[in-house]
């Protein structure tokens, strides 16, 4: 994990795409097998009753992946401050998702060096989640 600095970040910089394949086991293990979760996360039929077409991928899992994705991009001295996500389409377990992102703004606020990213999850090339993420990066000065 390399460190990214505010000065080296430019508008329209793109993040390296990353593929993740959510599974039903992953969804259940993430929240803990002893904790109650939506049955549609593990039960294909329950997902179909919701109109999803299979076991539903938890939005919280996708947002956690986005958090990790941006955090890894920023480096250990960077801090994810805010994520705002719109879930455009439900995702189905065992179908690969590709995370991608780009820099859409950078500014100094109250002495903090803030970079804003647009991040998406793509399923079959179509966005299923769109997120705006604000991350604070260190400055070289």
């Amino acid at each position: 994990m390399s460190q990214r600095y505010y000065e080296d970040t430019n508008l329209d910089d793109e993040l390296e795409p990353l593929e993740r394949t959510p599974t039903t086991d992953m969804a259940i293990d993430f929240f803990g097998r002893d904790n109650p979760t939506n049955p549609a996360f593990s039960d294909i039929e329950a997902g179909k009753r919701l109109g999803v077409g299979g076991a539903l991928v938890p939005g919280l899992l996708k947002l956690s992946w986005i958090t990790q994705y941006v955090s890894d991009w920023a480096g250990t001295e960077g801090h994810v401050k805010n994520l705002r996500a719109a879930y455009r389409r439900p995702d189905v377990a065992d179908r690969p998702l590709v995370l991608g992102g780009r820099v859409v703004d950078k500014r100094v606020e109250d002495g903090k060096h803030i970079v804003e990213l647009e991040v998406v999850t793509l399923a079959d090339g179509q966005p299923s989640t769109r997120a705006n993420v604000q991350v604070e990066l260190p400055a070289k000065g």
């Binding site: 994990m1 993430f30 919701l50 947002l63 990790q68 955090s71 994520l83 879930y87």
Partner: protein, 153 residues
Amino acid sequence: MSVPEQSLITDEHRAAIGVKSDPVKVVIGEVDAHRMRDVLEDKDPRWADGTGLAPSYVIAGMGGGPRRGMPQILPGGLLTQQEWKFSRPFKIGEELSAVSQVFDIRDRLGGRYGYSVLVTQGTEYFDSDGHHVASAMITITQFDPKSQRKGDE
């Protein structure tokens, strides 16, 4: 269920808007934090064993979170929007106080269910000194699965 002739949102539902819950104690558990980290295969050294810090996405599993006390107007629900804010990192073992409230309830006509209800609820987490640590806000689209348009299954 077809589109109702009038809103299913009652005065009782509306009365819940803006009312803050009593604080609920939430502890950042080491087992939970490490399990979530390991499922995501997160190798960030900040959350490695022994650092005392938890990745920010542990907020996804924190009790006392946004769905607690959310009015259930229609039987089905899908998470459609979400926001997380972090003022500082989570510390493993620390006890936080969670306060939730409903921010908005509104009808929606159209879409795959014909009629749905959007409920937005948020939770703020404070440390023992009363300082803000994090916030989570969600919008759930509630619907009747039986109303789904043909061809959307």
